[in-house]
Symmetry: C2
Subunit: 316 residues, 2 copies
């Protein structure tokens, strides 16, 4: 099969053998896949990954030992875990130290016509969710993770830094908890998607006196964290969503004196993400900025890297 492969830091489309599912796995035909910022970072060298890229997808189960899955339209969680370690047994399986991660670490991804995943990772989709929406379930779950980690109160003023794919999903998710959600970004078309849904948008940094109870750093840039620190209230919370290669520098004495909480946040729960899409509580289709065939992967990646471009989809 043709697949989008990262090898020696080069992206290329080449032939790979069709994967063979293990006893616990299903073979899935990928209908549609999404390019995530993490994919772009992987190409830049983050995690030193080599193999088939891609972790956002929707597809149909072709084969599995358990008959209940065959023919089902599914999305899949990206962490493949041992199920036996202390972290797995204590409900923190996404942090299993023995895990591989779909298209990110130790497991070939979904930018290919076929992929295998453990059936325990799969979620069956209701018919009311289109493929073009379902492909957003993985990043929407990552946005929902914030609600598991931080108690967002109705009175809280929330600022999202970044009007990229994840920033727009986070803004909409937090808007379900408080009407004081602000998003700062540089791309008018992206911000417009939020304004239509009652979220205030800013194109430049607010007055230094405007402080926020919660700031979500989703710029993908290392400078975002320092900005967050400038606008969070004393005793407030900064959620970190950006991953990048290398270190960032910060005035940690301010973190101590102002008693700021910095909370790293990664993958989240799929069921509430499916539920939000089912209820049409979150707008995702407007975030699609292009659809490419798998053979056009290089062009698709180039497009996805352009400033302001939101979701680019791949059809295997």
């Amino acid at each position: 099969m043709k697949a989008v492969v990262l090898e020696a830091k080069k992206l290329r489309v080449r032939n790979k053998p069709r994967p063979v599912p293990s006893a616990e796995e299903a073979l899935i035909q990928v209908h549609l896949a999404g390019i995530c910022n993490t994919d772009l970072e992987l190409v830049r060298g983050y995690m030193d990954f080599e193999g088939i890229l891609g972790h956002e997808f929707v597809g149909i189960v072709l084969e599995s030992q358990d008959n209940k899955w065959a023919g089902k339209r599914v999305v899949g969680e990206i962490n493949l875990v041992c199920g036996r370690c202390v972290l797995c047994l204590s409900g923190e399986s996404r942090h299993c130290p023995h895990r591989s991660v779909l298209g990110i670490s130790g497991k070939d991804g979904v930018f290919a016509p076929f992929v295998t995943l453990p059936v325990e990772n799969l979620h069956i989709l209701p018919d009311s969710i289109e493929d073009r929406e379902a492909v957003f379930i993985e990043p929407l779950a990552a946005a929902l993770r914030i609600l598991e980690q931080v108690h967002v109160r109705e009175k809280d003023r929330v600022l999202i830094l970044g009007d990229g794919k994840l920033g727009l999903l986070i803004a909409q998710v937090l808007r379900t908890r408080t009407d004081k959600v602000f998003c700062i970004g540089r791309h008018p078309p992206n911000l417009k998607i939020l304004r239509k849904r009652g979220i205030e948008t800013l194109m430049r940094l607010p007055d230094k006196k405007s402080r926020y109870d919660l700031i979500v750093e989703a710029t993908g840039q290392r400078e975002g964290l320092e900005t967050a620190l400038n606008f969070v209230k004393p005793s407030g919370t900064v959620v970190l969503k950006s991953t990048y290669a290398g270190k960032a520098c910060l005035n940690f004495s301010q973190v101590v004196v102002d008693e700021i909480r910095l909370v790293g946040s990664r993958c989240g729960p799929f069921p509430p993400a499916i539920s939000l899409l089912e209820k049409k509580a979150v707008e995702v289709k407007e975030m699609i900025d292009g659809t490419f065939s798998l053979e056009e992967a290089e062009k698709a990646f180039a497009e996805a890297q352009k400033p302001g471009v939101l979701k680019i989809l791949l059809i295997p």
Copy 2:
């Protein structure tokens, strides 16, 4: 009166006028004061403070408009707040943006025979607590702050980085919640104080496979934070206690991927600190490594800066 003054980054003992209390303040005769790491950092340029240093003290109220205070032996909270802003009214007065801080920012401190403080900052001491213990109440409150910020469970494995003054207090405070408390330091006499109280001590970093649910960074060094990140469990918490001038650099992608919480922690509640000393639940007198007269302040500061030296007291 003679006072220990920081001027143009120089420490000197010189004459200053005796302070005059405002209507809300008491005039206090200082019996005993303690040198804190923050005092050492202030001399190195942290906060650009100029004035009389010192914020850890015990003394006797000489004058106040409200008669109930006269003659009382007291300790005092260090944040002088407005009482009217949003943060004060929401119970976060230690973060009042209009605050001055005793001996740290905008308010002369306690390394002098007399000091003034608002009576609302004062706490009357029970007779069972000696002056040499009472002088530890402010840093002990700072250690107790951690229990207000982090839910420490009986099953948690806790590592304290640093066997300095604050590290030893924090270890003892956390030992009241879990018996799996470890402290890593470089000074055998300091660690011995903890071992006598059932706290495990280490002189070198543990095996990388030993991870902890909670790590408290109290080394005073910017390198401490990176060490903390190497030994915290995924989904674990790092409490930051060190303040220093300048920035520190960190691999924030690890914070995101492992979903670490970093929690800045500063001042804490006095009443439980007084209560712990009253119950003899915390050992502090063994931490006194020298007592100097105010005139010997330079010598006292030199002593306090020596590696491994714990609390140095000043008698005004």
